[in-house]
């Protein structure tokens, strides 16, 4: 389902610039002064806290419009405790994402959005691994290893919707293709999961946020 939404959004993004070529002086296409900030949260991240999930998380999202361009900022918390067949893995971290979304719904009076964008993500986290193992020559042993103060960075391609529901209340989703994770300061053991990104060994990771926003206007929209 997510794949089809992404493909349709990508196609939409390809078609719109062609239609707009006959209107090059369209003021909706230029960078303008911001008119408001939207602040919201990810309902899926919060919902995982109530489900029987090993993940505990929350995320705050914000964006500011500069015409059709929206500067987006996300801040989140992510902690996991996963029971393994021979141990326990724990991580705890904070992450930020910064980027730009480009709105392709240019003439909607409510400023609803269908967008494509990109983000740079950065995470600071601690992770710990307690495990038991058995060797033929040295018998059973237990070990605790950790990566305190690990950092990671990655890129994201995003697409999604923002729809005005009522007055300043907005809802929407963001689908993310997370790419090129890189980890530093993980000398204790191989990083298993990057808070904000996901499993490290997957070089491409998909993410999905279902978000609710409240918009605070800077001035009245013309």
């Amino acid at each position: 389902m997510l794949k089809y939404v992404l493909i349709s959004s990508l196609m939409f993004g390809l078609v719109l610039p062609v239609q707009a070529q006959d209107n090059l002086k369209d003021s909706t296409r230029i960078i303008q002064k911001p008119t408001g900030i939207r602040i919201g949260t990810d309902l899926i991240a919060i919902g995982k806290n109530f489900a029987n999930s090993p993940l505990s998380s929350w995320e705050i999202n914000a964006d500011v419009d500069f015409g059709r361009y929206y500067v987006a900022f996300d801040y989140g918390s992510w902690a996991r405790e996963e029971v393994l067949s021979n141990g326990v893995y724990k991580n705890d971290g904070r992450y930020v994402r910064v980027g730009v979304d480009i709105n392709f719904l240019l003439k909607d009076p409510d400023r609803n959005m269908i967008f494509l964008g990109f983000r740079y993500g950065r995470s600071n986290f601690n992770e710990q691994l307690d495990y038991q193992s058995t060797t033929i020559d040295f018998g059973d042993f237990q070990q605790q290893v950790a990566n305190p103060g690990a950092t990671a960075g990655w890129g994201e391609l995003t697409t999604g919707l923002r729809v005005k529901i009522w007055k300043q209340l907005w809802m929407g989703y963001t689908a993310r293709m997370k790419i090129f994770p890189g980890v530093k300061n993980n000398t204790g053991f191989e990083t298993y999961e990057i808070p904000g990104f996901g499993l490290t060994y997957k070089n491409i990771y998909w993410g999905f946020n279902y978000q609710v926003f409240w918009r605070i206007p800077f001035k009245s929209v013309p």
């Binding site: 393994l84 193992s133 020559d137 290893v145 298993y192």
Partner: protein, 92 residues
């Protein structure tokens, strides 16, 4: 003194154990007419494969830090089960 791993044998290769809780080991090779030693270092690095598969240990960065053997080569510095040769020693 540790227990001998192989005794009274004529071999062309030997498989030697490394302790996952340590990062170095010294092997002593006792021949008919002399004794040689090899001091090795390595890193045992844990990796979570999945919740069901659990933790796997990778032995990496094998190095010969000291040895009495005159001719030796580290062929592969990653220790693997069923791996080919890691260290090749030439004996007269």
């Amino acid at each position: 003194m540790a227990e001998p791993i192989i005794q009274n044998a004529t071999v062309s290769s030997v498989q030697l154990p490394v302790n996952p809780e340590l990062s170095e080991v010294v092997f002593t090779f006792t021949f008919e007419d002399r004794v040689e030693t090899m001091h090795l270092t390595y890193i045992a690095r844990a990796e979570v494969i999945s919740p069901d598969c659990g933790v796997l240990l990778n032995y990496e960065d094998l190095e010969v830090v000291d040895t009495s053997f005159e001719l030796y080569t580290v062929v592969n510095n990653q220790l693997l089960i069923n791996a080919p040769v890691n260290v090749e020693i030439r004996i007269d």
